[in-house]
């Protein structure tokens, strides 16, 4: 047994922060799933919306990256 309770709290917090990535995963899945279901209904319109899909992925993914960053800060910077 070594370390102190502050470090334990930081590690637990880092683990909890990683659950935020699950939300980003749901968001990205929703974006891509809806894009594909739309693209299969109207394939001719799909090419023009690919960029929009990537923008949507990027916005949704940014929040997951924030939680990853919080986890990293707790692991290495606290």
């Amino acid at each position: 047994m070594e370390g102190d309770i502050v470090q334990m709290g930081a590690y637990i917090g880092a683990g909890l922060a990683c659950t935020g990535m699950g939300g980003a995963a749901i968001g990205v899945g929703t974006v891509v799933g809806n894009y594909i279901s739309g693209a299969l209904r109207n394939p001719s319109a799909s090419a023009s919306q690919t960029a929009t899909m990537f923008i949507g992925i990027a916005f949704s993914e940014a929040l997951g990256i924030f939680s990853f960053l919080v986890a990293l800060l707790l692991m290495y910077a606290s």
């Binding site: 023009s48 960029a51 990537f54 923008i55 992925i57 990027a58 916005f59 993914e61 940014a62 990256i65 924030f66 990853f68 960053l69 990293l72 290495y76």
Partner: protein
Amino acid sequence: MAEEASAFNIHPMDQFVIKPLFGGHELNWYTPTNETLWMGIAILAIIGLLVLGTRGRAIIPSRTQSIAEMAYGFVYNMVVDVAGKDGLKYFPMIMTLFMFIVFSNFLGLLPMAFTPTSHIAVTAVMAMGVFLFVTILGFARNGMKFLSIFWISAAPLALRPILALIEIISYFVRPISHSIRLAGNMMAGHAVIKVFAGFAGALGLGAVAPILAISAVYALEMLVAFIQAYVFAILTCVYLKDALHPGH
């Protein structure tokens, strides 16, 4: 024996340590580091591709020329599609950002290489540059009308102050999310590869599963390296469009 075990005991975050190139431990602003080296290699590779590729100007392009033309056409179409025709004035900036990020990302995938874009310091400079540029451009082109991107006239009047608050927050979070997205993706991907490499080192010769996993993650990382550069460039186009046409 103990030494051999410790040689495999790699920490996944060790690859991001910035070291001076010519020995020593001092880091000043002018010290050439591995970061500088790999940025320089990326820039030389871009110059090599674009200058050597377009030197021949053949009607039937060589392989290098087709790649240079494909990169140019790809970014050109992206700027026209997202920012519109009058965004083309700022095409060189977006092309530069895209090529630098894509080359840094891909060169960082070489074994033993260093990824400059995995450092928030590097991506934050690019993202802050884009943010300041877009804000100044918006005010210079539209004057105070630029503030209308915060005041959404399509929404009901009662909702507009709340939406304005949200829009202002999301506007100022832009440089943070823009830089952290790229750096975080690069860092996370490389750390995952190193974690599996640590498993392979611990298992020794029988490490079939970790090596298969590394190959799979590596393939995914090639995709991510391209997509993150694409996303960075396309978001720059989106911000540029906001600055050029704040009304819609």
